[in-house]
């Protein structure tokens, strides 16, 4: 029986196929990892973008709060009320408690008119 001088042994063939398979698996894993990593980066970029939007919104909210505080400043309101409404700080004598106001209205309640129906 003649044997080809360059014939590879079965074990060698299995070895080579095994290595090739392992390399393929490794390559496939790396490609999968690469895609996962890419997706992760995209997700991170999206999170960063959302964070930027959030920061911008927070900055806008802060700006609005400052504007509100400025618009509500007592000095500004005083100036506006004096300019447009002619309102001034009230004198102490004109301050009534609710009880005092209620008793005041009670006093103004008209007395029953007994003359009704008389000629």
């Amino acid at each position: 029986m003649s044997v080809h001088p360059y014939r590879r042994s079965t074990l060698g063939r299995i070895n080579r196929i095994g290595w090739a398979f392992l390399m393929l698996v490794g390559l496939a894993l790396i490609v999968v990892l690469f895609f996962i990593k890419t997706r992760a980066l995209e997700a991170r970029a999206e999170v960063r973008q959302l964070q930027r939007v959030l920061d911008a919104s927070q900055a806008s909210v802060k700006m609005l709060e400052v504007e509100i505080a400025h618009l509500e400043s007592p000095a500004r309101i005083r100036q506006l009320s004096e300019s447009y409404l002619d309102l001034h700080p009230v004198d102490a004598e004109r301050v009534l408690t609710m009880d005092e106001a209620a008793s005041s209205f009670a006093k103004e309640k008209p007395a029953p008119d007994n003359s009704a129906g008389e000629p």
Binding site: P5, K37, V66, A69, L96
Partner: protein, 571 residues
């Protein structure tokens, strides 16, 4: 030709080992040689390919698994420095951060420094051309051109289109109420480090992310009213300076504290340095007769005035060859209540001399008048005490001369006399209702109640009449002190003060007003004493803040109606 080595040929192995020389076979086996050479080349090629593939895979693996790609950040300082907001007791915003853009340049990128300077100074006229050109010629990669730009300024910088310019976001501390409570709030430097007021006092806490917001004890409305009245008073009485405090006598909360002239905390550098001084807690004064309630407490505590006794204030009083005089001389002897109501220096001096130095010093110490006020701000000055405490010193301190204390210190001492006798450390922080806070007994409740009644008597029958606001039962005491300049008291340079408290039935709030060198006004009949200026201002403040603070009036309805009818429905 290269000599070939002898090799064994497997095809002859069946017939036993037999060797032939390569030279004999070279002619007919040239093909075999070529094949062998080709095989070597293939193996080398495969090796190189495998190496390259290995390198690629390794690099791919490294990038995929281990390396995080760098994020392009054109503005590396985008991460804002944190500093918590400051709000008043009702949550009204007093200080916060806003992100602003700052302009920088990279001098390495400058093509023509002169042209860039011209463009920049045209866009920002406040920039100095020589300084800008110097910056653009520096051997650096980063120089600030202008920080904290307004949106309009940023757009102007954009429009220049200079490649060497860039922006960075920087947080800026903003005080949306402007000058309101500037001395309490203080301010920060450009790097958001607190350098004055509450910003400095709570700097570390405000920089912690856990601190969402810092509540102060201030009431923005009371603060505004106090500042408004002080500003009006300063203008009316042509005073050099003024200060005022609104204090809750029951828990030590400072509801308002103002010092005039004031400043805009957004631009502290644009103000005169003098304006930054918090006179309410940093400027010790000889405050004069507003010290007398302390002397009255001394009288009751030591029992040096017998019940019903009249003090001989009509007589001349000389202590260590110095004559003590009264601004409102009485022709007759006065009881202790009238000594306070008529603000008799002689009467107060007699009481202090009878009590003696030790007891006077002891009481002053218990009322916190011999040391700096222990509150959060660093701006709290120590009193200026007499170097030698002689009889004359004891006598003058009785009516507020010879000892310099801050308005805040005397406010806290007076609050102690009115709140049942507890010295309560003041605070600019909101104290929880029912919470514990540092306090200690300084005088007895009986003495406190007596002083409350005496100070009400000062307003109803004494020098404090101008502070009497109908229905709010204001108590008070005037103080007019001559300034001590170049070794002598100057009669026409005064410090006037008034401590007002209300309501008499249950003292809750104290208003302390000080004017530095006020002048007579058109409606003061040539007088510049405390009763004509500080008392009026204190009354005006009480009238405006009492409804806000929820203090109800005691005026009867009929009284209101009568008053309304008489003024014909005026304002």
């Amino acid at each position: 030709m290269k000599k070939l080595k002898d090799i064994a040929l497997p095809e002859f192995e069946q017939n036993g080992p037999s060797f032939v020389t390569a030279s004999r076979l070279s002619a007919e086996d040239k093909e075999f040689v070529f094949i062998r050479q080709a095989r070597v080349r293939i193996i080398m090629g495969v090796c190189i390919f495998a190496l390259v593939l290995f390198l690629l895979i390794s690099r791919l693996a490294e990038i995929s698994m281990f390396r995080t790609p760098r994020v392009f950040t054109p503005m590396p300082s985008n991460v804002a420095k944190y500093r918590a907001d400051i709000v008043d007791r009702n949550g009204e915003l007093l200080a916060t951060n806003l992100d602003t853009y700052s302009l920088y340049a990279d001098p390495k990128e400058v093509w023509d420094a002169v042209a860039s300077t011209e463009a920049l100074t045209a866009a920002f006229p406040d920039l100095d051309a020589a300084i800008v050109e110097g910056l653009l010629n520096e051997d650096k990669q980063f120089v600030w051109i202008k920080r904290n730009l307004t949106p309009r300024e940023r757009q102007a910088a954009f429009a220049l289109g200079l490649p060497e310019l860039g922006f960075r976001i920087e947080p800026r501390r903003v005080y949306p109420r402007g000058r309101l409570a500037a001395h309490i709030l203080g301010h920060t430097d450009r790097d958001l480090i607190g350098i004055a007021g509450a910003e400095k006092a709570f700097d570390a806490e405000l920089r912690q992310v856990e601190t969402q917001v810092k509540y102060l004890s201030l009431d923005m409305r009371a603060q505004f009213i106090l500042e408004d009245e002080l500003r009006a008073g300063m203008e009316k009485y042509k005073a050099d300076a003024a200060s005022g405090i609104v204090l809750n006598v029951k828990n030590g909360e400072i509801l308002a504290l103002a010092s005039m002239p004031d400043y805009d905390a957004n631009q502290p550098g644009a103000e005169m340095p003098d304006n930054l001084l918090n006179r309410a807690s940093m400027q010790p004064y000889e405050l004069g007769s507003t010290f007398k309630p302390v002397t009255m407490a001394l009288a009751y505590e030591t029992g040096v005035v017998a019940k019903g006794e009249k003090l001989p204030v009509q007589n001349k009083l000389v202590v260590r060859k110095k004559s003590i005089r009264d601004d409102h001389p009485s022709p007759v002897a006065l009881g202790i209540w009238d000594v306070l109501a008529k603000s008799s220096n002689k009467g107060s001096a007699i009481i202090a001399l009878r009590a003696g130095r030790e007891k006077q010093e002891d009481l002053l110490g218990r009322l916190g008048l011999l040391s700096r006020v222990p509150f959060e701000l660093h701006e709290s000055a120590a009193p200026i005490l007499p170097q030698e405490w002689q009889n004359l010193t004891t006598a003058t301190i009785a009516y507020g001369h010879g000892i310099n204390v801050t308005p805040l210190a005397l406010s806290v001492a007076t609050a102690t006399l009115l709140n049942g006798g507890y010295y309560i450390e003041p605070t600019i922080l909101k104290r929880p209702e029912g919470g514990l806070y540092p306090k200690r007994r300084a005088v007895s409740p009986e003495i406190s109640r007596t002083i409350v009644d005496m100070m009400r008597y000062v307003v109803t029958d004494g020098t404090g009449g101008n502070a009497d606001i109908s229905g709010y039962e204001v108590m008070g005491k005037t103080g007019t002190a001559e300034k001590f300049i170049d070794g002598a008291y100057v009669t026409n340079r005064l410090v006037t003060s008034f401590s007002a408290a209300f309501p008499h039935r249950d003292p809750n709030y104290l208003v302390f007003i000080v004017y530095d060198e006020p002048k007579a006004a058109a409606d003061t009949y040539g007088f510049a004493g405390a009763g004509w200026n500080a008392a009026r201002t204190a009354g005006a403040v009480v009238e405006r803040i009492a409804p806000i603070l929820g203090v109800s009036r005691t005026t009867k309805l009929a009284e209101v109606e009568a008053k309304s009818a008489s003024i014909g429905g005026g304002r």
